[in-house]
Amino acid sequence: MVLWLFFMGREDKDDQYRDLFSMYKANYTEKVQSLIGTELYDFLVSCKTSLSEGATYNISGFKEFSIYEVRARYFLWPLRSINQDADYELRFGPDREDIVGYKEYKRHANGSIYERVGL
């Protein structure tokens, strides 16, 4: 029992308690910004306001299995992420590029939105 209680103490891993207290003080937008990063948040808000409801998209600019990509997909719903022939290609990050079958639709400080040609 003594050993059990001894091991119950938990260290403050990666300043998690400081982050937790800051969450208590933050409003909802600040909480989401803190979770996904301000740059991504601003880009996603721009996407959400620019794209028509029900549109499909493919988002890139993240590492493989990135939690930020997953959070982006969650944030953007009811815009729907699909792999192929999406209405829009969303590129997070400063790089611009040409995508076959798509034209630039909107440029943002933290990324670009490309629209499928003929949409």
């Binding site: 050993l3 938990r10 937790l20 208590y24 909802y28 969650y74 719903w77």
Partner: protein, 457 residues
């Protein structure tokens, strides 16, 4: 406020169904068992209702989803408010001895633990990988679609992770959104509630076997395992599955001891409902059926016929509970991407077998890692070695066999994985999978050590 009403409605549904069933079977139980069991029954009912709405294209509007629960509320009021003495027909009255200092300390520790979980959960939106990719996104889809959208179980992985996964948790989250509006901060509070209810139900069942102090001590250990309470702070199905299978097996052990049919049925119900929580529940439900058959074989001639009849009732319950989801699973959902039977080849299995040392290495890291498990597995292993002579006696036989069969099932599952390499699967799942076995192992340890406890009293 909306969240509390949503949880109260889950309780109301459960209380209506549980008290109706228990009264019919003339089975009495403690208030804590009624309340906690009702919560799990209510969760299942909400999920079933949502799936039925999907099959019949009925929108998940507020009016539609509360219609039946509201009728149940009226029936409860009609049944009990006018004649509260009817409650006594269902409830056990136990002697209420004064609590000892030790018992008060255990209870205070668990209350502190629960408050700590709430403190960790309260301010943060859903954020962990699987919670967002899978459960939260599905719940958001349901809420913003106003119904279970066409093709919900067939979306591509680019849209939502694992569209084929059992739907209980996203359905419950959508139920809460019905009362709170879309609020992915508040919805996380369902996990502490599940943690609380599973602890209370486990305690209530243990109280049928052990005295109060020993039951409290057992639940205290479970409730303060870091991995157990960590999973109460994030939206994940692993804690929910642990709750279902732990309580289901405890009901089965109670049935083995008493032969009371309703305990076998409640066990079957919880195993069946677990199939709505996580695919891995198939292993636990299968082991339950197998052990029930073993129980029949081991029972004496006088009891064999009754046990066989009870097993039929349990199997019918399990099938009826599981059937709606399995119907959708087979006819409306995509195939599981992690174990694709088409890709299970001899070469792939051989590769997985060669990687078994990786599995064992990660397993030992878990067992001896106090960060997630405190010294839980070390204590459990010590208990089994110390009490090896009674490991296969009485009810220990069934719990031990259940553990071995289900562990073998998980091992076989690992060997059949095809989507990625074994290290990937074991590394990402072993700590979660070991959580599924904590309650069952603790139940075994509680039986193994009870004689020593008695001697100290």
């Amino acid at each position: 406020m909306g969240f509390i009403i949503a949880v109260l409605f889950i309780e109301i549904i459960g209380i209506f169904l549980v008290t109706t069933a228990l009264k019919r079977e003339e089975y009495t139980c403690s208030g804590s068992e009624v309340v906690s069991l009702s919560f799990f029954v209510g969760m299942f009912f909400i999920s079933l209702q949502t799936l039925v709405f999907y099959l019949y294209d009925i929108p998940l509007s507020f009016k539609n989803v509360v219609a039946l629960p509201a009728v149940m509320l009226l029936l409860i009021i009609a049944r009990y408010v006018s004649r509260p003495e009817r409650l006594k027909e269902t409830l056990i009255s136990r002697e209420n001895n004064a609590w000892t200092g030790f018992e008060k300390c255990l209870m205070a520790g668990m209350i502190f633990q629960f408050l700590w979980i709430i403190f960790l959960t309260l301010p943060v939106p859903i954020h962990s990988h699987d919670a967002v990719a899978n459960y939260a996104l599905k719940a958001k889809m349901l809420y913003f679609s106003g119904m279970v959208p066409e093709g919900f179980f067939r979306f591509g992985e680019a849209t939502v992770s694992h569209p084929d996964y059992p739907p209980l948790l996203p359905f419950i989250m959508n139920w809460i959104y019905t009362f709170t509006g879309f609020n992915d901060v508040t919805v996380r509070m369902i996990m502490p509630v599940i943690y609380l209810m599973s602890s209370v139900l486990f305690y209530s069942l243990l109280r049928r076997i052990f005295d109060r102090k020993y039951s409290l001590l057992t639940v205290f250990i479970l409730a303060t395992i870091p991995q157990f309470y960590d999973y109460a702070t994030i939206i994940h199905t692993d804690l929910v599955l642990t709750a279902f299978v732990t309580c289901a097996l405890t009901y089965f052990v109670l049935y083995i001891r008493t032969g009371i049919k309703i305990q076998a049925i409640l066990s079957a119900f919880l195993f069946g409902a677990a199939l709505w929580v996580k695919n891995e529940a198939v292993v636990f439900a299968g082991a339950f059926v197998l052990l029930f058959a073993v129980l029949i074989l081991r029972s004496d001639a006088a009891n064999r016929r009754k046990t066989s009849r009870d097993m039929v009732s349990a199997l019918v319950t399990l099938t009826v509970i599981a059937l709606p989801w399995f119907f959708v699973r087979f006819f409306h959902a995509v195939l599981n991407s992690d174990i694709n039977p088409m890709n299970v080849t001899g070469g792939r299995i051989l590769q997985n077998i060669k990687d078994i040392p990786v599995l064992l290495d990660l397993f030992q890291q878990e067992v001896f890692g106090p960060k997630k498990w405190n010294i839980f597995w070390i204590i459990m292993a010590s208990c089994m070695i110390w009490k090896r002579k009674v490991l296969w006696k009485n009810e220990n036989f069934y719990i031990m066999a259940f553990l071995l069969i289900t562990a073998a099932g998980y091992f076989a599952g690992y060997m059949l994985t095809t989507g990625n390499n074994l290290f990937f699967y074991v590394n990402t799942t072993i700590s979660r999978f070991m959580l599924h076995f904590t309650g069952i192992t603790l139940l075994l340890a509680a039986f193994l050590c009870r004689d020593e406890y008695r001697e100290t009293q």
